[in-house]
Homo-oligomer: 603 residues x 2
């Protein structure tokens, strides 16, 4: 299966295999054309503490670190790698790939991304962008060593270390004085520098509620110790734009040495202001913005990459004094879909930029050609973010389509798939085409996800047989195939077909789990659509990792997806996929636990 | 069924029947306790063009008008009435109940809300708040007459009329000169006044992209003609907070007569800044804020009520100079759930304030008691928005629970249900309790929605029998019962169980529809959860209404929900519910079509 290839360290595999969007989507010219501002202003050379063009704003994406910390958003290393590649293609300047001290899995994922994506170009479109790969670390030596271990093989490695500076955090979480906090910050930045890292970011956690005078002081100290970027987090999403902008301006005006480093923002969304605060920060002088795709993250999430980038794209020239980013907005839609898919965190229909309704004015037969001028209600054109309508290329696959036609269409969609993977997808495609006249691009993407981007296979679905309805007892018979090829058949009754099938699976797999979430949606219009099911489970035995901010060990949760034309079949596939993801994760190695318990561990 | 009661004009039915949250939830004291700021500052007396307390900010909710315009969000009159009651309970100052000229259905829904909710108090908690009921109208006499017809029986009726003022809209949509636009605005405000309406709101559409000098002029003219509120819409969600705040401040500084009226904001969310822009507007002098519950609305939606209110609640005192609203935040969570349910527009897990993860820090066994101080990562307490955990009251219903216990628990949840409705819910409850040890509050709410808050019943599900799986042809047999009590049985094969069942239903109902969306989620944790299915359909024959901004006739879409422990059964219930909703809507009366075609119809 795909996973083993994805994890294969041999770099020659990577440019051509399972590289979503490796080939240009639809129009061969798209991927070489930068979005308008990007093309007019080429990305300046990367120097850690200085940006040659004062109007250029760096985009720091923390989807893989802060985003992945969301409940249920746990991703496998291969999923993280695929997303990191997409972020590179999108033109993100810095990818925060994880928090290596949290678990052995996280360390390995960061190392994999540093090695592969951090040594690009593997974009396949002739562009030469190599993103900085960053690892998070609390202010202690073990965390910083783990972060360095994760990122050091990237061409541009960065360590991001943080300690809280608000009174409430210092008093209740750290139980440390201001002086101690300054000393710990300074020593740990210096330690990172001694390890050989020349690109060091420091964050005073909960800066939004910290005493500004104390911020000027601690930032001055870490700059002296070697920090090259200072990031100002509004950790609890408490500030309003005018206030956050003023904080950035005040730091810029009052911190000694600040002109020798980059100021960054990191805004949480608890009051719904994260994106506006971030743009206000840029307006006030920040030249790095920390964001996540779809705005995911703990609680109400972070500033959303697409909102921040499009605000700068749309209003940069007139209201923001010429600011611009290096993001190729044409890849936004695909990045959004991919992150939603792998994290299980869907965006609402009315999500700005990437929601299903964001460009849907109304339904109805009178729509076409009625808008006398597109700009009346549209400030961004859908094509700018890579939104294309299914099958607008005019190619329709059906049951007579062969392997070659399928491969061509998949290439159009950005999937370069060969060999056994192509055989598997072709088999699934034929099953669908037998039942459905037109197989749309959305159908194909659902099948690809279901077939290729799956965790390591421990159990796979053989057969399923179900009887249900209002008249009798729901009964399911399930055949699962184990890694040894052995077939296991069990049956169970249940309150409904899914309950019955899941109970039958539990009888085979015998690992206690709790089903936390279950959802399903049809990927295309029409009654004969393919449905995709997502489940989130939690293992009832302990599989822990360390939480960055609180320093606590947490029981992670795992999502699984499955697709099929039969909703019971897709439900079973999703459950098996989540079980496989969970079973594939190893337990923490002891060192990380110890790190979490050091005296300054909860920084 | 419930619908007939809900639509029954006899007011004595309303205070006690189907009045969600009519009785206090859990704690009898909650509904009489205002949220902190609200209780310290009682709501000032309502005077259309003046607020006695300069720090009081009015909340104008347009969930039922702008929100309902979203694709698939069409609601029945009874659903709108239930939401309007909830908005009144929430303490909304002005409810925009609809756009009466768009269709006969819309007019009737507005009239119903004006009569019932606009003549409160029916809140049942001793509060005496009576909201203003507002109807939208383009700047033409037919629209304004329809709006007045809709709202006139409210105690505090308001007409809201608008015309576009940006160059792009005047040139391409209206094809009118500035002078003509000013004349039309002035004449129509005066016309509304002559009808007897003393509370008139005027909006220059696309104000965010209009020439400020022109705005000062047209606003001065409408104020002279009798407008009491002037609303400044950022129709395309184009502005940034500092810019929108400046626009409000400039209007306040430069418009003659502005001190005699209320300035209002209406911000769309296309760049993700709607809530921040709205708060910036209040900060700059606006004293009415137009919002929707969950931020729903066309494209990327509107400023979200909960984000705007909580920003003012949390930061009003320190950063916003003492601003406050009359909203009772304890009703926010229930309002959010209700709107999500009736419109089919779900909020994403990381939606600020009301998302499923907004207050979920992390999962895991180490969580309890680990946060040394709640405020470290929490700026709002979940209880403040009415978020309570299922069954925290300690009462657990099971299969031995009787009718009385069920009724008590429903009362706790806010449902005062008797007679046949209680019988129906009790029957469904027993079916669930037979299969499930603990029936949670979320389960009960799903059953209530499925059983009580449904459109007028034209078809109902008798029986269903399904066979499916990977091994054979999915086959469904469906028995539907018509209004005459006649039983109709059909069977069909399909690509999966839902496809088969929907095709069997189509064979019975014989109305051509397109299935646009299909989604499902489990309402509670655990494998034996109740699942809720939502579908959105569009009738393929023409059922039109007029769109407010574009003036076009649109084919509306209809959502349906169904609940059950068997996902196939809940899917079938949802489809039947959507069909019933669609079949229950009447065709437009000819007058509205004509109105849409008048020379100034596309204002």
């Amino acid at each position: 299966m795909a996973t083993s290839l994805l994890l294969n360290p041999n770099p020659k595999f990577f440019p051509t295999n399972h590289n979503r969007l490796f080939v240009p989507r639809r129009n061969p010219s798209i991927s070489t054309v930068r979005c308008s501002l990007g093309s007019r202003n080429p990305r300046p050379e990367y120097i850690p503490n200085r940006i040659p063009d004062p109007n250029y704003v760096r985009i720091f994406d923390t989807t893989l670190r802060d985003g992945e910390q969301s409940p249920g958003a746990t991703m496998t290393s291969s999923e993280k790698l695929v997303i990191a590649r997409q972020l590179s293609r999108l033109g993100v300047d810095i990818i925060e790939a994880g928090f290596p001290a949290s678990s052995q899995d996280d360390l390995e994922a960061v190392r994999l991304i540093a090695r592969e994506v951090g040594n690009g170009p593997a974009n396949g479109d002739g562009s030469v962008h190599v993103p900085v790969i960053c690892g998070l670390a609390r202010c202690n030596e073990r965390d910083i060593e783990a972060a360095w271990e994760g990122v050091r093989c990237a061409r541009l490695p960065r360590i991001h270390t943080f300690i809280a500076t608000s009174e409430i955090h210092m008093q209740y979480k750290l139980r440390k004085s201001r002086e101690e906090v300054v000393r710990i910050a300074r020593e740990n930045v210096a330690f990172a520098r001694r390890l050989g890292c020349v690109d060091i970011e420091f964050s005073p956690e909960d800066a939004g509620r910290s005493d500004p005078e104390f911020l000027y002081l601690i930032l001055e100290e870490v700059i002296k110790a070697g920090a090259t970027t200072v990031n100002i987090p509004d950790t609890v999403g408490y500030t309003l734009p005018k206030e956050f902008g003023k904080l950035i301006a005040d730091i810029k005006a009052n911190t000694r040495g600040i002109d020798n480093v980059i100021i960054s923002t990191h805004c949480q969304n608890d009051l719904g202001n994260a994106s506006a605060n971030t743009v206000a920060g840029a307006d006030a002088g920040a030249r790095q913005l920390e964001v996540t795709v779809n705005g995911i993250g703990e609680r109400a999430g972070n500033a959303s990459l697409e909102e921040v980038v499009l605000a700068i794209e749309t209003r940069g020239k007139d209201i923001l004094g010429g600011l611009y980013t290096g993001i190729n907005t044409k890849h936004i839609m695909m990045s959004s879909k991919m992150v939603a898919e792998y994290t299980g965190l869907h965006v609402q229909p009315h999500k700005a930029i990437v929601g299903a309704n964001a460009f849907a004015h109304e339904s109805g037969i009178h729509q076409d050609g009625m808008l006398k001028h597109k700009g009346t209600y549209e400030i961004i054109s859908p094509e700018d973010i890579g939104l294309t309508r299914s099958n607008e290329s005019g190619i329709v696959l059906g049951k007579l389509s062969g392997r070659h036609a399928l491969r061509s269409q998949l290439l159009e969609l950005g999937y370069d798939i060969n060999g056994k993977d192509l055989d598997d997808v072709f088999r699934r495609f034929k099953e669908v085409a037998e039942k459905k006249k037109r197989v749309s691009d959305d159908d194909l993407e659902a099948l690809i996800t279901d077939q290729i981007f799956q965790p390591q296979v421990i159990w796979s679905l053989g057969d399923l047989q179900v009887t249900c309805g209002t008249l009798g007892l729901s009964t399911a018979t399930v055949k699962l195939i184990g890694t040894d090829g052995g077939e296991h058949v069990e049956c169970s009754v249940g309150t409904g077909p899914v309950d019955a099938a899941y109970k039958a699976i539990d009888r085979i797999v015998k690992v206690p789990v709790t089903l936390l979430e279950y959802s399903m949606s049809a990927v295309t219009e029409g009654i004969d659509a393919i449905s995709t099911t997502r489940v989130v489970i939690r293992g009832d035995d302990v599989l822990e990792s360390t939480h960055a901010q609180t320093g606590r060990n947490v029981n992670r949760t795992y999502s699984g997806t499955g697709a099929g034309m039969d909703i019971v079949v897709s439900s079973v596939r999703a459950y098996v996929s989540a079980l496989n993801k969970m079973l594939g994760f190893r337990r923490n190695v002891p060192t990380e636990k110890t790190a979490a318990e050091t005296s300054q561990g909860s920084a």
